[in-house]
């Protein structure tokens, strides 16, 4: 699946996207897999309260199941307008 990063999450990880082959059942499990990768991922995901997640381009939460999902995105709280 495609994992996308925006704003300071993208900057901390150092790239806008990963293509991940994962058996994670939920977003939270995917986050744990990513955190275990490298310190830059650990830094980006250190505080989940500071993050929002979208699953297939719909806002979701960290307990959302990942079965059949093609795209997950992580970003800080939005500041439009």
């Amino acid at each position: 699946m495609d994992v996308l990063y925006f704003a300071w999450v993208r900057e901390r990880i150092g790239q806008p996207k990963d293509i991940v082959d994962t058996g994670a059942a939920t977003v939270r499990e995917l986050v744990e897999e990513l955190r275990a990768r490298e310190p830059r991922y650990e830094a980006a995901f250190a505080d989940l309260d500071a993050l929002r997640v979208a699953v297939d381009q719909e806002l979701a939460d960290f307990d959302t199941p990942l079965s059949g999902v093609r795209e997950v995105a992580f970003f800080p709280p939005m500041t439009g307008g």
Partner: protein, 147 residues
């Protein structure tokens, strides 16, 4: 319903005139315009990032929700991304309705949701560095009045 996410400037007067001209039978058109303020004092650039694909979906969903809540004729949302400078137009919202109460309420609803639920992020770049603009608690709180 017209939702546009673009990096190029837009002509506020022309957009509003075009929108108003289409609203046959409507008694009210309300519009809001967002403008870049130099809150960082010495702002070089306000960089606006968005999530292509999701942004348009989120804005369309918000506008559709507004149409279910109020008696609306139409809604227009234009939001820019990319590098903006102080006093540039960031975005505009326009609503039309038979009566002004619905047009005002829908415009406020659109703005409240757009601030916290549409995937845009702002970064202020000044001579002394760059900072992502933090989301404000009051913007999140503003959504509760529509529950």
């Amino acid at each position: 319903m017209d939702v546009r996410v673009q990096d190029v400037e837009f002509d506020l007067g022309a957009e509003l005139n075009r929108f108003a001209a289409r609203q046959t039978g409507m008694g009210a058109v309300v519009s809001f315009t967002g403008i870049v303020r130099d809150l960082a004092e010495g702002l070089d650039v306000m960089q606006i990032e968005h999530y292509p694909g999701m942004t348009e979906k989120a804005l369309t969903k918000i506008a559709q929700e507004a149409k279910t809540r109020w008696s609306l004729g139409d809604a227009l949302v234009i939001h820019r991304h990319g590098a903006l400078r102080a006093d540039d137009l960031i975005m505009m919202v326009a609503t039309s309705a038979p009566h002004r109460v619905d047009a005002f309420a829908a415009a406020e609803f659109l703005m409240d949701y757009l601030k916290s639920r549409a995937p845009f992020w702002k970064k202020e770049v000044t001579g002394s560095g760059e900072d992502w603009v933090a989301a404000k608690d009051e913007d999140e709180d503003a959504l509760t009045r529509w529950d």
